[in-house]
């Protein structure tokens, strides 16, 4: 008897393995995110299947960006035909295009409704359109409107110095009633978000400077930015000590949302959550472009997700239909209204119905038009992994800015030499 059961189990296992593979004619679409986001993708996919008659299989990925990249890198470097269509973070585009994993989308696609600068910087590779933006992101400054009125401050700060002085004034007064209150929260933990923050502090003349296959980092602008970031925590004390150990997007968001900070640097997604029914700061906040250095202009790091088709896809024409559907005006509008995703199409930023629900899109349009991407290089991830611990080490007081930048520059040079890029 037990033997028979064992056989049955074995049979069941084999048949389960055989039946689980995706249907051959389906477009496999790989997408990750929070449960609510995945549920909405399911809905969208059903609409598409009804409209077009093309079956689509949703391949669920985790929320974590690094894990999503890793999953795609493994499948694509093995030349697998699945997934056919996937979402890519803007920071990976350099790697995916240089690895020749993306099928050009063809010249039939009308590029005019999209932000031309974003396409030029991120999606067009060797003159060919290889991806389209689905969701745009850029760093923003959130601030407490109510506290600004209470302490009689003028409008949002235009320079980092102004931000510092506002934050100090309000923090010293608020501490009497709230010991957890800090002037300014931002992302300083050792992860990709730290690079995005650093580039914004470094301003329009700082950041990674790509000169003839050499990456310069140890510049006066970058040293000044790092010293300023360090001082925000240690000298001025307007950012909590946990900035460099814990603060990622969600930690920053919950800190600000609990009413414990005057300013917050975050991506646009925080807006809808700050204005949600359970938020302590509902109706008390406003957004502004990030401050600039007193002699420069405001910089916002470009983030967001793009959509592309795999070179190894065996259902390319159908896959293209899916891409067209997802980047269409109607779908982008739905993504905005349901998930608060800022559309990759600029024509939506003047849709009256959209502006009524999301008035902050007016400011965002300007932010996206000037947002700066991280360097679009195939080895960007490696560079980022080298720089993250160095910058984080400055925030922790382990290195001086100059020391950290010089060391990072040297390690990057070694990496490029190893790749034979120099």
């Amino acid at each position: 008897m037990p033997k028979r059961i064992a056989w049955l189990v074995l049979l069941a296992a084999i048949s389960a393995i055989c039946c689980c593979g995706p249907r051959k004619d389906a477009v496999v679409f790989s997408v990750g995110g929070a449960p609510a986001e995945l549920a909405f993708w399911e809905e969208l996919i059903q609409d598409f299947e009804k409209q077009s008659g093309i079956p689509v299989e949703l391949l669920r990925q985790p929320t974590d960006t690094d894990q999503r990249r890793q999953g795609l890198v493994v499948a694509l470097s093995a030349g697998k035909s699945n997934p056919d269509v996937f979402l890519l973070d803007v920071a990976w585009l350099g790697l995916f295009t240089a690895s020749e994993w993306l099928e050009p989308l063809g010249s039939d696609i009308d590029q005019s409704p999209f932000f031309a600068r974003v396409l030029q910087l991120a999606d067009i590779y060797q003159g060919k359109l290889t991806a389209l933006p689905v969701y745009l992101d850029g760093g923003l400054l959130y601030y407490r409107k109510d506290l600004f009125e209470q302490f009689d401050l003028p409008g949002p700060p235009r320079t980092w110095e102004e931000l510092l002085s506002h934050a100090r004034t309000v923090q010293s007064k608020m501490r009497k009633i709230n010991p957890d209150f800090y002037g300014f929260v931002w992302q300083g933990a050792q992860y990709e978000g730290l690079i995005c923050n650093f580039l914004e502090f470094a301003g329009s003349n700082g950041g990674f400077i790509n000169q003839e296959n050499r990456i310069c980092l140890n510049t006066p602008e970058n040293r000044r930015a790092l010293a300023f970031m360090h001082d925000l925590i240690w000298t001025h004390g307007i950012s909590p000590p946990s900035t460099y150990t814990e603060m990622k997007e969600e930690e920053t968001r919950t800190y600000f949302q609990a009413g414990n900070a005057l300013f917050e640097r975050n991506w646009p997604y925080a807006w809808a959550l700050h204005q949600g029914p359970e938020s302590e700061v509902r109706g008390k906040i406003a957004v502004a472009p990030l401050p600039a250095l007193h002699d420069g202009e405001s910089v916002s790091t470009l983030g967001g997700w793009h959509i592309g088709i795999s070179k190894f896809s065996d259902v390319r024409p159908k896959a293209l239909k899916l891409v067209e559907f997802i980047t269409s005006y109607e779908t982008q509008k739905k993504l905005l209204l349901h998930l608060g995703w800022n559309p990759g199409r600029k024509d939506l930023y003047s849709d009256p119905e959209v502006l009524e629900v999301a008035p902050h899109l007016r400011q965002l349009r300007a932010v996206f038009q000037n947002a700066r991407p991280r360097p679009i290089l195939p080895y960007y991830t490696q560079i980022s992994e080298i720089v993250q611990p160095r910058i984080n080490g400055v925030l922790a007081g382990k290195y001086a800015p100059e020391e950290a930048l010089a060391a990072a520059e040297q390690e990057i040079a070694a990496l490029l030499e190893r790749y034979g890029t120099r």
Binding site: V73, T245, Y255, E385, Q388, G393, V394, E411
Partner: protein, 311 residues
């Protein structure tokens, strides 16, 4: 006292095949039963390990043409400050966490070996941390160490031990110790259970005799328990050392390698390159980790062999 080497080593290395008698039918059947396991070992262990070794000799980056490099990856590794940082951290982690876990595990095992009420229940409870996935226990410790609402800071505030909250993961030493504590909490039970199995195999007669001879508790422990437990202790050490060498999940969750990259373990270092699509360099780092674990295993096995001489 003259000692004589026992013929039986603690670990059986592959015997001399030539001297084996011809395979009769019974042996064939026995061999047949082993085939699935051998296949498993070859498919899932031997081939991937060899694949990693081969990969470590080449430039294997997704966007560059693959080419053979020989030992060049290793040469670059030895000049990479990030690599040395991770080697230092990993070794220090092993040296601090393994003895701590074994010592605590031995203490727990000694207690559980006594005739206590509800001994079975206690033994099961001790195993709970070991049963929790490392990523989950990492998250739990993240909540304990959290700066603004963590349990540790709450406790310190209630007991008036510090002026303000402590940033536990904020300094190199703090983050290191926090990781050791989190890892020990999870893996001490494993050491305890293996050592407990070893303890229960020591005959009670020996202790009774020792008591007749008026041996103190300490004497009984050092003269009976420790020598008889040594083979099991060494196996536990071996398991724990290899496990601690490849520490990954608790760090990935708790510090992400920070602050300033000071808690990046060798496996996290390799992972960064794998996930960025640089398979050759990541493989080279993994091979070094493998060699380190292999060398330590050999040392332990020798140690185990040596202990058998006291007959």
């Amino acid at each position: 006292m003259k000692t004589e080497r026992l013929k039986k080593p603690l670990f059986h290395l592959p015997g001399n095949l030539a001297r084996m008698p011809a395979l009769d039918s019974e042996r064939w059947i026995a061999f047949g039963f082993m085939v699935p396991l051998l296949l498993f070992v070859v498919l899932f262990i031997l081939i991937p390990v060899l694949g990693t070794l081969v990969d470590s000799f080449s430039l294997d980056v997704t966007y560059l043409p693959k080419r053979f490099l020989g030992l060049e990856n290793y040469d670059w590794l030895l000049r990479d400050p990030g690599f040395w940082q991770s080697v230092r951290f990993t070794c220090l982690f092993v040296v601090v966490s393994v003895p701590l876990e074994i010592a605590l595990g031995l203490m727990i095992a000694l207690v559980l070996n006594e005739q206590l009420p509800m001994r079975g229940l206690l033994r099961a409870c001790v195993l709970i941390p070991w049963a929790i996935p490392a990523a989950v226990s990492g998250r739990v410790f993240e909540l304990i160490y959290n700066y603004s609402f963590g349990a540790a800071n709450y406790l310190f505030r209630v007991l008036h031990l510090t002026d303000g909250p402590v940033n536990w993961l904020g300094s190199e030493a703090g983050a290191f110790l926090a990781l050791v504590v989190a890892d020990s909490w999870k893996t001490t039970p494993f050491a305890a259970i293996i050592l407990l199995a070893g303890l229960s195999s020591i005959p009670d007669d020996l202790y009774r005799q020792a008591k007749v001879d008026r041996a103190t508790f300490i004497q009984r422990f050092t003269r009976i328990t420790l020598p008889l437990l040594k083979p099991v202790l060494i196996v536990t050490l071996l398991f724990r050392t290899i496990d601690a060498l490849r520490v990954f999940d608790v760090i990935y969750v708790l510090t992400g390698g920070g602050p300033g990259g000071t808690t990046t373990s060798l496996s996290l270092f390799g992972y960064h390159y794998f996930s960025a699509g640089d398979f050759g360099y990541g493989s080279a780092a993994s091979v070094i980790l493998f060699l380190l674990a292999f060398a330590l295993s050999i040392i332990y096995i020798r140690l185990g062999h040596f202990e058998q001489e006291v007959a």
